[in-house]
Amino acid sequence: MRTELNIDKALAALADQPKPDWLVHWQQQGQQVLSQTAWPTRKTENWKYTSLKSLQGISWQAETPDAVADGIRFVDWQEISIDFVNGRLVNTPKLPDGVTLHRLSDCSEAEGLTFLQKVDSERAGFEFDALNQSLLTEGYWLKVAKDIQVAQPIHLNFISSGADVVTSTQVLVELESGARATIAETFSATAEARVLVNANTALYVGDNAQLTHYHLLLEEGEVRHIGRVTGSLSRFASLSSFHMAVGGILKRKDITIRHRGEGAELSLNGVYLPKGHEVIDYHTTLEHEVPNCTSSEIFRGIMADHGKAVFNGRIHIHKDAQKSVAEMNNRNLLLSDHAEIDTKPELEIYADDVRCAHGATIAQLDKSLLFYFQARGISKKEAEVMLSFGFINELLDALNDQPVQTLLRPLLATLFAQKQADLARHIL
C-alpha cells in the first residue's frame, strides 16, 4: 500500500519524534507489513463495493495544529470529557477512583508491550491495521479497575483539523472483572479540515463486567475515516455498542466482537445516513468462539442523494460453540434514484445446536403505514419524513442514555428537514 498511499511526509515527521525503542520497532514492523500489503481494489472481497480513490493524490502529513476546537459536547450528562486534537491529548481531566488513562508513549516497556500485544491479538485481515501501526500518533489505555462502577460517563472527544493530515490512534478500553462503565467516543472535524482519520478502538470486557459503548462518526466535510473497533468479551461480560456514521467523504469501520467467555452478551446496533456523495461502509463480524453466548445486532441506513452505503454483517459460530444465539438484522431505505446500497449478511456456522438468523431488507416506506398517517390527517409529505425519521429513531429510542439521544436527534432532524423536499420528490 506504500506506493498507492503517499504518507512519506507523515513518516518523516514520525522519525523526528523522540520515542522509546520498542515503539519505534513496532512501527517499523507495521511499515514493513504496509509495504507488503496489496492496495485494496474492487477485486479485494473486503472492498468490493468501496473505492479508496479519495485517499490517493494527497501527500498525507502528520501535524498537530495549535487551535483547539470544542468538538462534541453532550448536554446534562455530567460526563468526563477527554479531548484529543488530531490524536493528541489536550486536556487532563480528573478521573474517578479506579479509572486510569495512560498514554502509550508514557508506558514502561513492559506495559507498552502488553498494550500492543492486547491490541494485536484482536487484529486480523484488515488492511488499515498496518497503517495504524506504521503511523501510530498515540495509543491510549483507559482502564477501569476490578469491581469499580463508574457512575459518570467518560467521553473521548476526538477532533480533527488541518490540511492533508493523517491521524492514527489506538484506544484500548479495559474493564476488569465486575467493572461497569459507559464510554462514548465521538469524532468530529473543524469546518476546513481535510483529513484521514485512522482511529482504532479495542474493547476488553472482563468477567461479569458491563460496558456501554458509543462510537459516533460525526465528521462533516472533507473527512475520510477508516478504522476498526474490536471487542473481546469474557465470561458473563455484557457489551452494548452503538455506532453511527453521518457526513464525510468516506467512512469505513470494521467491527469485530469476539465471545471468549461463556455466558457473554452482546448488543450491537448502528445507523448510517449517507447523503450528497458520501460513502459509508460498515463491516461487522461476530465471533462466537465459546458456547452459550448471545448476540443481537441491528443496523439501519437511509441513503439519500448520491449517497452510498455498504453493509457486511457476518456471524461466525465456531465449532463447539453450542447453544449460541445470534441474530442480525439490516434494514435499508433508498431515497433517491442515484443512491445505492450493497448489503451482505453472512452466516458461517460450524455448530449444530444454535439459533441463528439474519435478515436484510431494502424497501420503500411502508405504504400501509403512510396511508395510516394520511387517514389520521397527516400530509403524505410529512408522513414520509416522520416515517423515515421513525425508522432510525427506533434505534435511538432504545439507547439508555438520554443525553446521547439528545445529541443525535437534532442531527437527524436537520438531516431530514433538508431532505424533506427530496423525500417528497423521490418517494412518491
Binding site: 431515497l335 445505492e340 446500497i341 452466516l347 456456522i349 431494502i362
Partner: protein
C-alpha cells in the same frame, strides 16, 4: 441432540454400477488438436470449430478460480480424456431407438428411466446422454407434430444451424468464467430444445446424463429456446459409477425465454458423491443461466444430493419488463461433500420479480453454502425480490453457511432476505417417537418437511424421486 440423529447417515449410492460396453475414448490431454479431433468426430462445420478454438485460447489465458468455501485438489486437465463414446454409437450410428445397444438402454432402465415410448410412466420424453454422446431420444416424432424440436445438440448443429449459431453462447459467453470457457472449447453432448411461438410443449422433456468411462470428463452443453408465448418444462438427471478418482462434470446450460414464454427447468443431481472417507466423487462445476424477456418466466428448481464438490448458481437475467425469475433449491451434503450453490437474480427491467427459496441440509463433516446475488439495476423500478435461505444441521461437525450479496440502485425496488439456521429439534424427534415413529423415519420426515416448499415445485414424478433420494441419503442413520 439425540443419539439417534447423531449416528445418522451412511448413505448407499444406488446408481454406482458400471455399464460394460466397449468404448472408444480419445487419449488423455487437451490441446488444439484434441479440440479439432472432437469437432471432426462430430463432423462439425468450420464455424463451430473456430468457436471452440476461440474459447480454448481464452481459457488458456484464464486462471482457475479459488472459491472461498470449497477446497479440493485442482483437476489435472492433461490427465483427462475429453471424448468417450460407446463403440456401438460410432460405427453405424443407430437410426432409431430399436437399434441402440440394449446394454446401453439397460443402464437407463436400471436407473428407473422410461426408455421405451410405450411404458406406462412414459409421459416424459427422454434424451439419454452417455459419456460424450446422446444414445437416443424418445418421442421425437410426437414432439415434432407440435413443432417442438428436442434432440441432441450435436444433431441440432447440423439440422438447425441457424438457431444454434444465433443462440449458442448468447447467454453464457465463451469467456464467462474458467469452466464455461473450458466447456465451450470441448463440449460434447447435451440437449437442444426449441419451442415455437405460442406452443405449449405437450409433454415433459428430460435429459439423463450418465458418466460411465473412467478418467473422462463430461462437458454437457444444453440450449433451450422458448419462443414468444411458449411453455416448456424440462428436467435433467445425473448419475455416475462409484470410482476412486474424482471426475469432472463441467456443464453449460443456456435458456432463452422470449416475450411471454415460460421455462421451468428442474434438476435432480445425484452424481456420485464419493465414499464415506471422501474418496472419489464428481466435481460438478456448472454454469446455468437464462435470459427472460418481457413478461417471460424462468423457474429453476434443483435437488442436489450428489457430487463431491458442487459449484453452481443457476441464474436469471430479468431483462424484460415484468419478467419473473425463480430459484428453488434443496442441497443435501453428507460425509465429505462440499456444496457451494445459489443463484443470481439480475433485475434489469421494470417490475421484474424474483423469488429465491433455498434449503440446505448438512450432515456428518460436510460443508454446505448458499451464495447468491440479488441485483437491482437503476432501471429496475418497482422490482421485487424475496429470498428465504434455511439451513438444517445434522450433527455437530458439519457447516452451514450463507453468503448473500444484495445490491440496489433503485429506490422503488424492494428486497427482502431472510435466513435461518437450526437443527432437527429434540422436541420434534420426541413427538414423533412418542407417536411410535422410529427415529430414522422421523428424521427423514422432518427433513422432507423442511424441503417441502421446494419439492412442490418439481414435476410430480420427480418430486417423489427427490423425496426418495433424500431418504436414501438419510438411510442407515440409526443404530
Amino acid at each position: 441432540m439425540s443419539e439417534e440423529v447423531k449416528q445418522y447417515i451412511k448413505s448407499e449410492y444406488k446408481a454406482g454400477f458400471v455399464t460394460d460396453v466397449e468404448s472408444s475414448t480419445i487419449p488423455v490431454g487437451l490441446s488444439e488438436d484434441v479440440i479439432r479431433l472432437i469437432s471432426s468426430k462430430k463432423n462439425e462445420p468450420e464455424w463451430l470449430l473456430e468457436w471452440r478454438l476461440k474459447a480454448y485460447r481464452a481459457w488458456q489465458e484464464m486462471t482457475e478460480p479459488d472459491w472461498a468455501h470449497v477446497t479440493y485438489p485442482k483437476p489435472d486437465f492433461q490427465a483427462l480424456s475429453y471424448y468417450s463414446s460407446p463403440k456401438s454409437m460410432e460405427e453405424n450410428r443407430p437410426k432409431s431407438l430399436d437399434e441402440v445397444d440394449p446394454e446401453l438402454l439397460a443402464t437407463y432402465e436400471k436407473l428407473g428411466i422410461p426408455v421405451h415410448e410405450q411404458e406406462v410412466l412414459a409421459g416424459v420424453a427422454v434424451d439419454m446422454v452417455f459419456d460424450s454422446v446422446s444414445v437416443g431420444t424418445t418421442f421425437r416424432a410426437k414432439l415434432a407434430d407440435a413443432g417442438v424440436i428436442f434432440c441432441p445438440i450435436s444433431e441440432a448443429v447440423h439440422e438447425y444451424p441457424d438457431l444454434v449459431k444465433k443462440y449458442l453462447g448468447s447467454v453464457v459467453p465463451q469467456r464467462d468464467n474458467y469452466y464455461a470457457a473450458l466447456n465451450s472449447a470441448v463440449f460434447s453432448d447435451g440437449s437442444f430444445v426449441y419451442i415455437p411461438k405460442g406452443v405449449r410443449c405437450p409433454m415433459e422433456l428430460s435429459t439423463y446424463f450418465r458418466i460411465n468411462e473412467a478418467k473422462t470428463g463430461q462437458f454437457e452443453r444444453t440450449l433451450i429456446i422458448a419462443d414468444e408465448g411458449s411453455h416448456v418444462s424440462y428436467l435433467e438427471g445425473c448419475t455416475a459409477p462409484m470410482r476412486d478418482e474424482n471426475q469432472l462434470h463441467a456443464a453449460v446450460v443456456e435458456l432463452v425465454c422470449m416475450d411471454d414464454a415460460e421455462i421451468k427447468y428442474s434438476t435432480v443431481q445425484n452424481w456420485y458423491p464419493g465414499d464415506a472417507e471422501g474418496k472419489g466423487g464428481i466435481y460438478n462445476f456448472v454454469t446455468k443461466r437464462g435470459i427472460a424477456h418481457h413478461r417471460a418466466k424462468i423457474s429453476w428448481t434443483q435437488v442436489e444430493t450428489g457430487s463431491a464438490v458442487t459449484w453452481k448458481y443457476p441464474s436469471c437475467i430479468l431483462k424484460g419488463d415484468d419478467s419473473i425469475g425463480e430459484f428453488y433449491s434443496v442441497a443435501l451434503t453428507s460425509n465429505h461433500q462440499q456444496a457451494d450453490t445459489g443463484t443470481k437474480m439480475i433485475h434489469i427491467g421494470k417490475n421484474t420479480r424474483s423469488t429465491i427459496i433455498s434449503k440446505g441440509i448438512s450432515a456428518m463433516t460436510s460443508q454446505n453454502s448458499y451464495r447468491g446475488l440479488v441485483k437491482m439495476n437503476p432501471g429496475a423500478s418497482g422490482a421485487r425480490n424475496f429470498t428465504q435461505c434455511d439451513s438444517l444441521l445434522i450433527g455437530d461437525r458439519c457447516g452451514a453457511h450463507t453468503f448473500p450479496y444484495i445490491e440496489s440502485k433503485n429506490p422503488s425496488a424492494i428486497v427482502e432476505h431472510e435466513a435461518t439456521t437450526s437443527k432437527v429439534s429434540d422436541d420434534q424427534m420426541f413427538l414423533c417417537q412418542q407417536r411410535g415413529i422410529d427415529p430414522e423415519k422421523a428424521v427423514s420426515m422432518i427433513v422432507n418437511g423442511f424441503c417441502k416448499e421446494v419439492f412442490k415445485e418439481l414435476p410430480m414424478e420427480f418430486a417423489v424421486e427427490a423425496g426418495k433420494l433424500l431418504e436414501v441419503s438419510l438411510e442407515g442413520a440409526v443404530g
